[in-house]
C-alpha cells in the first residue's frame, strides 16, 4: 500500500515539475494535460483508498517512507498515517483540486492579455499556474497524509510558499506583491508559535511522531512548565495554545486573519482551492489531528471558542460592506473558518471536520461561480457594476444559488447540517466561553445570510448596471468551467447525507474527546433521524435569522435598491469601522511594519554606525593616531635630546634605587 500512497502524493508533484520546468516545450495543452493526469490519478487512488478503508475494513496504515535525519538518538521521518481522517482530507483535497484544474483551463485561457507585452514570463504564465496548483496539491497531500509533526510542518510551509507564489501571480501588480509578502509574513507569525509548540512537545515527548506523542498523553496531562518564575503552567495548555497560534495564521483567525482578504489578488481558481477549500483549513485539520493534546487543556479549547466565534461574527459583518465580489466571499471564508474553530473549541472536532468538508465544496463552488462571473464581466469585480446576470448565465446562476443556500445553512443543504450541528454543539458545551460563543454564532447566521444574498441579488438580479459593451458580450463560459461548477454543486447538495456516520458514528476514530467534553454524544441523544433534524431546522432560531437576513438583503438590494448600493452612506461611522476592518491593517502597518523599520534604522545608525564603528572602531583608530601624534614630538632625531632623556632616566632610576 505504501506505493499507492507515494503515488497519490507524488503524481501531482511530477506534473508540477514537468509543467514548471518544461512549460515552454510542452505548451499549454501539455501543461494542463500532465497536471490534470497527475491530480486525476491522485483523486482516483484516493477514492480507492477511501473505499478500502471505510467500506472494506482495511486497517489504518502508519509507516515511514524514509528517515529524514537522526541526531542524538532522536529520529525524524517522512511517513504516512492513513486513517479515516486523512483519507477524508485526501478525498476533499484531490477532488476540489481536480475541479479547479479543469476549471482553470477555461479561466486562464486568455491570461496573457493581463501581462505586459514585453514580459518574458508572459508566454508561460498559463503553464506556471498549472505547475503551482499541482505543486500545491502535492504539498497539501503531504500535510494531511503525514504521520508526524515535522512532515506536517513541511507541508504547512510548502502550501504557504505556493500560496505566496500564487497571490503574487500577477507579479507586475503592486497590490499583488504587497499582498503576497503580507500573507507570508503574517503566516510566519503563526508559524513562529507553531514551531515553538512543536519544539515544546518534542522537548517533553522526545518525538514528533503522532503515535508516539499520543502514547504519552497520560504523562503530559499532569506536566507543568514554569515559563515565568513562580508560575506553574500546564504543559498541554502551553503546547496547545502555541500550536493554535500556527492554526490562527494558516486558518486566518483573528488577529492573524489580515492576510486572507488581500490574498484575493491571486487568480480566482486559487482563491477557491487554496484560500477557501483546502489550505486555510489546514489549521482546523491540525487541531483535529492533535485532539488528544487539546483535550488536556480547557484553556486552549476556551480560547478557540472565543477566537473562533469572534471571527465568525465580526468578520462576517465586514463582508456586508464589501463591494468586490471576491472580497465578500473572502470575508465569508473568515467567518466560516470561525465557525469551524468554534466547533473545535467545543470539542466537536467531527463537526468542525464536517463543516470543513461541506465548506470546501460550497465555498469552492461560490468562488468558481464568482470567477465565471468575473470572466463574463471582463475582469470587473465590483458588484455595484453587475446585476441581472441570471438570464445570461443560467448554469452559473443555479450553481451559485445552491452554493449560497448552503452557505446560509438553508435546511436540506449540506451547509445546514454542518453549521447547525456546530451551533448546537457549542450550545451544549460547558467549556468557559461557550455561551458567549453560541450567541455570536447564532447572530452570525443572520449576518451570513445578509452578505450572501446581498451579493447574490446584486450580481444576478435587479437592474443591469454594466456598460453596454460588457453587456453585449455576456455569456455562459465553456464546459470546462460549467462542469466543475455542476459537480461541486452536486457535492454541495449531497454532502449533508454523511452527517450521521461522521458525527455520531465511529468514523473519526483517531479523534479523542474527553468524556466530559463530549457534546456530540449529547447531541446524538437529541438526534432523532435526519428528517426530524431537518424539520427542527425549520423551526429553530437560526433558520428564522437567516430568512431575516435574506429578507433584509432583498430589501436593501432589490426592493429599495438605491439603499443597497449606497448602503454605506446610511451607516455612517459603523461603515467606516467595518470598511477599515476594525483597523487591524492600519494598526499592523503603523506599529509592526513601520515600527520594525524604525527600529532597524535606529539599531543600524545608532548602534552599528555611531556606537560600534564611530566610537569604538574608528575611535580606537583616532586614539592611536592622536597618541602617535603626541609621541612623535619626542622623536626629534637629535642625539642630544635622546642623551638628555637617558641621563634624566638614569638619575630617576638611581635615586629610586638609593632612596628605596
Amino acid at each position: 500500500m505504501e506505493t499507492v500512497y507515494l503515488i497519490i502524493a507524488l503524481a501531482p508533484l511530477v506534473g508540477a515539475i514537468i509543467a514548471g520546468l518544461f512549460g515552454k516545450k510542452i505548451g499549454k495543452t501539455g501543461a494542463h494535460t500532465v497536471t490534470i493526469l497527475g491530480v486525476g490519478l491522485s483523486f482516483g487512488l484516493s477514492v480507492w483508498v477511501f473505499v478500502r478503508l471505510v467500506f472494506q475494513g482495511m486497517p489504518t496504515y502508519d509507516g515511514n517512507v524514509y528517515t529524514w535525519m537522526m541526531a542524538g538518538g532522536y529520529s525524524f521521518h517522512i511517513g504516512f498515517l492513513i486513517d479515516h481522517l486523512s483519507a477524508l482530507m485526501m478525498l476533499i483535497v484531490t477532488f476540489v483540486s481536480l475541479m479547479v484544474h479543469i476549471y482553470t483551463i477555461g479561466y486562464m485561457a486568455h491570461d496573457e492579455e493581463l501581462w505586459p507585452s514585453d514580459s518574458q514570463v508572459r508566454s508561460t504564465a498559463y503553464q506556471r499556474f498549472f505547475s503551482y496548483i499541482a505543486l500545491f496539491t502535492f504539498s497539501m497531500l503531504m500535510l494531511v497524509m503525514s504521520n508526524n509533526l515535522l512532515q506536517l510542518f513541511f507541508g504547512w510551509e510548502a502550501v504557504g510558499l505556493v500560496s505566496y507564489l500564487l497571490i503574487g501571480f500577477y507579479m507586475n501588480k503592486e497590490s499583488a506583491i504587497y499582498a503576497n509578502l503580507k500573507a507570508f509574513i503574517v503566516n510566519r507569525v503563526g508559524d513562529f508559535g507553531f514551531l515553538l509548540g512543536i519544539a515544546a512537545l518534542f522537548a517533553y515527548t522526545g518525538s514528533l511522531n503522532y503515535e508516539e506523542i499520543f502514547s504519552q498523553t497520560g504523562k503530559l496531562a499532569t506536566a507543568t512548565v514554569m515559563l515565568i518564575p513562580g508560575q506553574e503552567w500546564s504543559l498541554p495548555s502551553v503546547v496547545a495554545i502555541l500550536l493554535f497560534i500556527g492554526a490562527m495564521g494558516k486558518s486566518a483567525q483573528v488577529p492573524l486573519h489580515v492576510w486572507l482578504p488581500d490574498s484575493m489578488e491571486g487568480p480566482t481558481p486559487i482563491s477557491a482551492l487554496i484560500h477557501a477549500a483546502t489550505m486555510v483549513t489546514a489549521g482546523i485539520f491540525m487541531v483535529t489531528r492533535m485532539s488528544p493534546i487539546y483535550e488536556l487543556s480547557t484553556t486552549a479549547l476556551s480560547l478557540m471558542l472565543i477566537i473562533g466565534s469572534i471571527g465568525a461574527f465580526f468578520m462576517g459583518l465586514i463582508g456586508v460592506v464589501q463591494n468586490d465580489i471576491k472580497r465578500v466571499i473572502a470575508f465569508s471564508t473568515l467567518s466560516q473558518l470561525g465557525y469551524m474553530t468554534a466547533a473545535l473549541g467545543a470539542s466537536a472536532y467531527a463537526a468542525g471536520m464536517f463543516h470543513l468538508m461541506t465548506h470546501a465544496f460550497f465555498k469552492a463552488l461560490l468562488f468558481l461561480a464568482a470567477g465565471s462571473v468575473i470572466m463574463a464581466m471582463h475582469h470587473e469585480q465590483d458588484i455595484r457594476k453587475m446585476g441581472g446576470l441570471r438570464k445570461y448565465m443560467p448554469i452559473t446562476y443555479v450553481t451559485a444559488l445552491i452554493g449560497s443556500l448552503a452557505l446560509i445553512g438553508f435546511p436540506g443543504t449540506s451547509g445546514f447540517f454542518s453549521k447547525d450541528s456546530i451551533i448546537e454543539a457549542v450550545e451544549l458545551s460547558h467549556i468557559p466561553g461557550a455561551h458567549f460563543a453560541a450567541a455570536l454564532l447564532i447572530l452570525g447566521v443572520f449576518v451570513t445570510a445578509l452578505y450572501t444574498f446581498r451579493l447574490f441579488f446584486l450580481v444576478f438580479h435587479g437592474r443591469e448596471r454594466m456598460d453596454a459593451h460588457t453587456r453585449a458580450h455576456l455569456h455562459e463560459p465553456p464546459w470546462v468551467v460549467t462542469l466543475p461548477l455542476t459537480l461541486l454543486a452536486l457535492a454541495t447538495i449531497g454532502a449533508g447525507g454523511v452527517m450521521y456516520p461522521l458525527l455520531f458514528g465511529d468514523f473519526f476514530r483517531s479523534i479523542y474527546v474527553a468524556p466530559d467534553h463530549n457534546v456530540l454524544a449529547e447531541l446524538h441523544h437529541h438526534f432523532h433521524g435526519a428528517l426530524a433534524f431537518l424539520i427542527d431546522g425549520f423551526l429553530a432560531p437560526p433558520f428564522w435569522l437567516s430568512m431575516a437576513g435574506v429578507l433584509v438583503a432583498w430589501d436593501v438590494t432589490l426592493y429599495r435598491s438605491k439603499l443597497g448600493i449606497h448602503v454605506h452612506s446610511r451607516l455612517g461611522w459603523v461603515r467606516t469601522i467595518l470598511q477599515n476592518g476594525y483597523g487591524f491593517d492600519a494598526f499592523n502597518d503603523y506599529v509592526f511594519a513601520r515600527g520594525a523599520r524604525g527600529l532597524g534604522r535606529l539599531l543600524w545608525k545608532a548602534g552599528d554606525a555611531l556606537l560600534i564603528d564611530g566610537l569604538i572602531v574608528n575611535g580606537t583608530a583616532r586614539v592611536i593616531g592622536w597618541t602617535a601624534d603626541r609621541l612623535r614630538w619626542i622623536q626629534t632625531g637629535y642625539v642630544y635630546h635622546y642623551s638628555f632623556a637617558m641621563i634624566i632616566g638614569l638619575l630617576v632610576l638611581l635615586s629610586w634605587y638609593v632612596l628605596r
Binding site: N172, L227, R597
Partner: protein
C-alpha cells in the same frame, strides 16, 4: 583506492601549487583560467574520497598525516579530519569551483592573479580545517587573510582601502591574542598538538583567559555582535568571488574554531561564559535581523543576514550548557546515564549538529545569494535595491533561482536553511523556553527582510530602463546557480547523510565539552 593517498596534503597543496602555476601563466588568460578550473575541479574531486572513505563509526581523527617539522619546539606537520572538519573541507573545495566559474568572464583585469588568489586561499583554508598542530593551524589561519586582503584590495569597490584595513586589523588583532594562548598552552603541555591541548588540565582563571583569546580570534571571524562591523564593509567592497568565499567559508572558520578549540580545551570557561555567548548570539539573530531589514544595498543586506544566521551557529554551540544545567547535569557525565542526563546529552548533540548543519547550509545559501547579486551587478553595476524592480520580467530563470535561494535564506522547510535552525531551536527549547522564543523570531524577521528584498528586486513593474535591457543568465551562470540549488535542496530534503558523518565526532566533542577539567 584512495585510502593510502595523503588526501589532506593533496587538497591543501594541489590548489596552492596550482595557484602559483596559474600565476606563472601570466597574461595568457584563456589558458590560465582553464588551468585554474582544472585545479579547482581536481581539488574538489580529491576531497570527495574524504567523504566516501570516511568512517563514521569513530570519533578519532582520520586521514592522519604526521611529519616532524621543528624538532626543537615539537611543532609537527600534523593533519587529520573528523566529522566536524571534513564537511567543511568539502564545502571549501565546492565553493572554490563555483568561484572560479563565476570569475570566468566577469573579471577583466588581472584575471590570472584573481583566480590564483582564490586557489591559494582554498589550499590555506583546507589547511585550517585539517591542521591538528596549532602552529600549523595558526599559519594557515593567518595566511588565508593575505589572499583575501589582496582580492578585496585589488578587485574591490571604491572604498576598498578602508574595508581591507578594517578587515585585516579586526581579524589580525584577535588572532594575535590566540597565538599567545597557544604558546602558553605549549609551556604547560610541551606540545603544540590541538589534541594534546584538549587533554590539558587548567584552572578556571587560565581557562577564561584562554577562552578570551579564542573569542578574540573566532568571534571576529564569525562575526558575532559587536565585533561584526567589518563584515558589511568587506562584503560591499569585495568582488563577487571574494564575498562568496568570505561568507561561505571564512565565517565558518570562526564557528569551527569554537568547536575545535574553545569547547574541548576550555570547557569550564565555556560553561562560565556561555550566558554571554548566548546573549551575543541572540543579539545577532534579532538586532542584526532588524538592521538587515532597512539596508538599501543588496550586499549589505545579505551580509547582515549572514551575521544573523551565524548567530544560530554560536547559539547551538553554547546552548549545550544551558541544556545541561536545565537537566541538572553539572560536571561529568556519570557512568550510569539517567533519563535526565540522557535527554541532556541527546539534545546537546542536536544543538551541536544543528550548529554544524547551519554552517554548511549557510555556506551554500550565502554563496548562492552573493553569486546572484553578482549576476545582477555584472549587468547593472549597481547594488542599490531601488535601482531594481521587475527583474523577473527580463530574467525569469534567474528569478526562479533567486526566489529559491531567498526561501532557503528565510529557512523554508525542504531547503537546507531550515534544517540547522530547526535543530537548534528544538534543542534550545530543551534548555530554556525563552531562549528558543527569541531565536525563533528569525522565522518572522528572516522572512521579512529576505522577501521584502525579493519584492523590490524581482517583482513589480519594470521602471528602470536598464532593467528592461537585462539578459537572462547564460549557461555558465546557470551551472553555478544550478549546482547550488541542488545542494540546497538535497540537504533540505534528506539531511541524514550529512549528519551521519558527524555523529561520532559530535558525541565525543560533547563529552569533552561537558567534562569539567577542574576536578
Amino acid at each position: 583506492m584512495f585510502s593510502h593517498w595523503p588526501l589532506l596534503s593533496l587538497v591543501i597543496w594541489t590548489p596552492i601549487i596550482g595557484g602559483f602555476v596559474v600565476l606563472g601563466a601570466g597574461e595568457r588568460a584563456n589558458g590560465a583560467r582553464r588551468l585554474a578550473l582544472i585545479v579547482a575541479v581536481a581539488t574538489f574531486l580529491l576531497s570527495v574520497p574524504l567523504f566516501t572513505g570516511f568512517d563514521s563509526q569513530t570519533a578519532a581523527m582520520q586521514f592522519v598525516e604526521f611529519q616532524p617539522w621543528i624538532h626543537a619546539l615539537n611543532i609537527n606537520y600534523y593533519l587529520g579530519v573528523d566529522g566536524i572538519s571534513m564537511p567543511l573541507i568539502i564545502l571549501t573545495t565546492f565553493s572554490t569551483v563555483l568561484v572560479v566559474i563565476a570569475g570566468w568572464e566577469v573579471i577583466k583585469e588581472k584575471q590570472t592573479q584573481y583566480l590564483a588568489a582564490f586557489l591559494i586561499m582554498e589550499g590555506l583554508m583546507n589547511g585550517v580545517f585539517a591542521a591538528l598542530d596549532s602552529i600549523l593551524f595558526y599559519i594557515f589561519f593567518e595566511g588565508m587573510l593575505i589572499p583575501m586582503f589582496i582580492v578585496i584590495g585589488m578587485w574591490g569597490g571604491p572604498r576598498r582601502v578602508y574595508a581591507t584595513l578594517k578587515f585585516f586589523l579586526y581579524t589580525f588583532l584577535g588572532s594575535v591574542l590566540m597565538l599567545i594562548a597557544l604558546i602558553y598552552m605549549y609551556t604547560k603541555s610541551g606540545s603544540f598538538s590541538i589534541l594534546d591541548f584538549q587533554k590539558l588540565h587548567m584552572g578556571i582563571t587560565a581557562q577564561i583567559l584562554i577562552f578570551m583569546a579564542f573569542f578574540g580570534a573566532f568571534a571576529v571571524k564569525i562575526p558575532m555582535w559587536p565585533v561584526h562591523t567589518w563584515l558589511p564593509d568587506a562584503h560591499v567592497e569585495a568582488p563577487t568571488g571574494g564575498s562568496v568565499i568570505l561568507a561561505a567559508v571564512m565565517l565558518k572558520i570562526g564557528g569551527y574554531g569554537f568547536l575545535r578549540f574553545a569547547l574541548p580545551i576550555t570547557p569550564d570557561a565555556s560553561q562560565t561564559l556561555s550566558g554571554v555567548m548566548i546573549f551575543l548570539s541572540l543579539v545577532a539573530i534579532v538586532y542584526i535581523g532588524f538592521v538587515a531589514l532597512v539596508q538599501q544595498d543588496m550586499k549589505k543586506l545579505i551580509a547582515y543576514s549572514s551575521i544573523a544566521h551565524m548567530g544560530f551557529v554560536t547559539l547551538g554551540t553554547f546552548v549545550i550548557y544551558v541544556i545541561a544545567r536545565h537537566y541538572g547535569l553539572t560536571a561529568n557525565l556519570g557512568e550510569q546515564p539517567t533519563p535526565a542526563s540522557l535527554a541532556a546529552f541527546n539534545s546537546g548533540v542536536l544543538a551541536l549538529e544543528g550548529a554544524l548543519v547551519q554552517m554548511i547550509s549557510h555556506g551554500f545559501i550565502s554563496g548562492a545569494m552573493f553569486l546572484s547579486v553578482g549576476v545582477l551587478y555584472d549587468r547593472m553595476h549597481s547594488r542599490e535595491i531601488n535601482d531594481y524592480g521587475g527583474v523577473v520580467n527580463r530574467m525569469p530563470i534567474f528569478a526562479g533561482f533567486l526566489v529559491l535561494f531567498a526561501m532557503a535564506n528565510a529557512g523554508l522547510p525542504g531547503t537546507s536553511g531550515f534544517v540547522g535552525e530547526f535543530m537548534v531551536i528544538l534543542a534550545t527549547l530543551h534548555g530554556n523556553f525563552w531562549l528558543a522564543f527569541v531565536a525563533a523570531t528569525t522565522l518572522i524577521i528572516g522572512a521579512a527582510y529576505t522577501l521584502w528584498l525579493i519584492k523590490r528586486v524581482v517583482y513589480g513593474p519594470v521602471t528602470n530602463p536598464k532593467v528592461a535591457a537585462l539578459q537572462d543568465i547564460n549557461l555558465r551562470e546557470g551551472v553555478f546557480l544550478g549546482l547550488l540549488a541542488v545542494a540546497v535542496l538535497a540537504v533540505g530534503i534528506w539531511p541524514a547523510p550529512l549528519l551521519d558523518v558527524m555523529h561520532a565526532s559530535v558525541h565525543h566533542l560533547l563529552q569533552q565539552a561537558l567534562t569539567s577539567k577542574l576536578s
